[in-house]
Amino acid sequence: MTSDQTPLLSVRDLKVSFTLDEGLVRAVDGTSFDVMPGQVLGVVGESGCGKSVTMRAILQLVERPGRITGGEIRFRRRDGGEPVDLARLSPRGAEMRDIRGGEIALIPQEPMAAFSPVHTVGDQIVEAIQLHSHRWEAGGRKLSRRDARDITVGLFRDVGISMPEQRVDAFSWQLSGGLRQRAMIAMALSCKPSLLIADEPTTAIDVTTQAQVLALLRDLQAKYNTAIIFITHDLGVIAQMASYVVVMYLGRVMEEGPVDEIFHAPKHPYTKALLRSIPSLYGETRVALPVISGALPHPFNRPPGCPFHPRCPDVMERCSAAVPSLQPVAPNQLASCFLYHDQADAG
């Protein structure tokens, strides 16, 4: 947000809610952040804080009864020109379809859901490449199946799948967790995206496989200079992958800044508490860990004022009365907390 570059993606005051019989779930409640070209942005937050819904909103994939109720999602398209507000595009319209999968690709949280079980992974990627032929062929000529298949084999090789010529003919359920994850990354790269959204891409896999996939994503990022939004609740993964970090809680950004500041000079009480509560590989063992008291509130029962106030060790009187807005608190760092400023949100 502080760089003089222009952002590739700029999310401003995004709101997404689900209207259920039991009440209104404000899953995303005024989230703002920027993604710079080629940057790895880490989004961290506990279960249910709205990470996945935010990403689905960017792709206009929020399912009913959910809908985007406010804010802007400005995206700079590859052809130059003024940024488009994705929040205003029709979810099924031609432009959104072209951007989705064409310029912004998603590695979804559920690995099994990403591939159809009745077609081979290769066929599914070949189809995606043919659909976005103009990204591979100047002049917009549609690629032949054969050419698309060659590209797919190359992508499989790029993501470190051994015997790629054979593996493209496998069904997703025949691949191990690690290979399926790699195939999914190949699928995401098949349209040469300028923005890759990886929603907990390593949560379901083992630590040694995770290390392989993280190294792979780092290499691909360096090679293609793709911007990546990397979502996880694992602070270790964030520390190793991201250059800039957004910390979310109950649908709002609590703090954001460069990775080193977030880990070594956190400002927001939630960020500080979160960092203290994880057991480290170096700390003293078998002692009580500092805890964040209380539990995450139920989505129907959002606390008034600062969403963190019922659990905050530094809570003050006004914290339950007004919602702190996201403001600069240090060079390069922003936080939503009245300890640092007195700017409240209007809504």
């Binding site: 506990e46 040694t208 290390a211 392989q212 602070l235 057991p279 590989l281 063992t285 078998r286 860990l289």
Partner: protein, 337 residues
């Protein structure tokens, strides 16, 4: 919090444990092979200590735990357990009627607090069930005991008439812990008890387990795949790979000087929660082999960067390389991993 207990006779002594599952094929369910889910697990657990059991998905942690609880019958090996009465019995071979009186002494906590609690029963019935099943106390006494247990895990006794769905994930795990403690067990086998919890809640549950252990003199077998969590809670750590125990040592020692290449690789793979510390090079390549068709010789040889010709043909035995430090590697002691 508590010093590792002095070497006494172990509470649990597992020797050469094996559990094979048949692979069947066709209409006649012909057995065409075996999944060697657990194939050579040896460890002891001393009274009052926590032994951490780690390893990647499918290495047999849950199966080994289920053997100890006799939720499945082991294929081979011994599970020697010292009862409250001081008698050593082999849990692997006891009949179900002989096991019955021991059911109160050994309890389990599962990863998924949703699955282990009955959604149609109140907390009173969920937490009190082990008492009912083992015929302990009348309704009045059970109610008092449940109130006491809820207080013990930091929940209000008034909650006992509510149903599990009214509680958060962390609270449900507390309920499951209360239930496991109902019969005053000596040994608690916890299979990934914090893996499904958010980080802020995970710390609460880990603290609770440590506190209960020192208060009630509990012995834990703590199964997990998160090395930071296991390191935090365990006195000693056992590492499994493809059904076998490959290393066992006191926590500080196994982290300081791992004596098995797999343990060393596992530790290097953990992403460190500090951007100034870059996770080390030497990422382990390849994939975990299937326990239905493990490699020849040392099961780790296809991925081991130290492997020598001998490793492909000769299976290493688990051996004690330093007092209390066991490893299953031909080169341990000669090479630093």
């Amino acid at each position: 919090m508590s010093a590792p207990p002095a070497m006494s006779e172990p509470l649990l002594d597992v020797r050469g444990l094996q559990k094979f599952f048949p692979i069947t094929k066709g209409f006649l369910q012909r057995t065409v092979g075996h999944v060697r889910a657990v194939d050579g697990v040896d460890f002891t657990v001393n009274e009052g200590e926590t032994l951490g059991l780690v390893g990647e998905s499918g290495c047999g942690k849950t199966t080994a735990s289920r053997c100890i609880l006799r939720a499945v019958d082991p294929t081979g090996g011994e599970i020697l357990y010292r009862t409250r009465a001081g008698k050593v019995v082999d849990l692997a071979t006891l009949s179900s009627s002989e096991l019955l009186p021991l059911r109160t002494e050994i309890q389990m906590i599962f990863q998924d607090p949703f699955g282990s609690l009955n959604p149609r029963m109140t907390l009173l019935d969920n937490v009190g069930e082990p008492l009912l099943v083992n015929g302990i106390g009348n309704r009045r006494e059970r109610t008092d005991r449940v109130a006491e247990l809820l207080r013990l895990v930091g929940l209000r006794p008034e909650f006992m008439h509510r149903f599990p769905h009214a509680f958060s994930g962390g609270q449900r795990q507390r309920i499951a812990i209360a239930r496991a403690l109902a019969t005053n067990p000596r040994l608690v086998v916890a299979d990934e008890p914090v893996s499904a919890l958010d980080v802020s809640i995970q710390a609460q549950v880990l603290n609770l387990l440590l506190e209960l252990q020192s208060r009630l003199k509990l012995t834990f077998l703590f199964v997990a795949h998160d090395l930071s969590v296991v390191r935090h809670i365990s006195d000693r750590i056992a590492v499994m790979y493809v059904g076998q125990l490959v290393e066992l040592a006191p926590t500080a020692e196994i982290f300081g000087q791992p004596q098995h290449p797999y343990t060393a690789a596992l530790m290097r793979a953990v992403p460190v929660a500090d951007p100034r510390v870059r996770t080390a090079d030497g990422i382990l390549g390849g994939e975990v082999p299937s326990p239905a068709a493990p490699p020849s010789g040392c099961y780790f040889h296809p991925r081991c960067r130290h492997a020598v010709a001998r490793c492909r043909v000769e299976a290493p035995e688990l051996r004690e390389i330093a007092p209390g430090h066991f490893t299953r590697c031909h080169l341990a002691g000669e090479v630093t991993f």
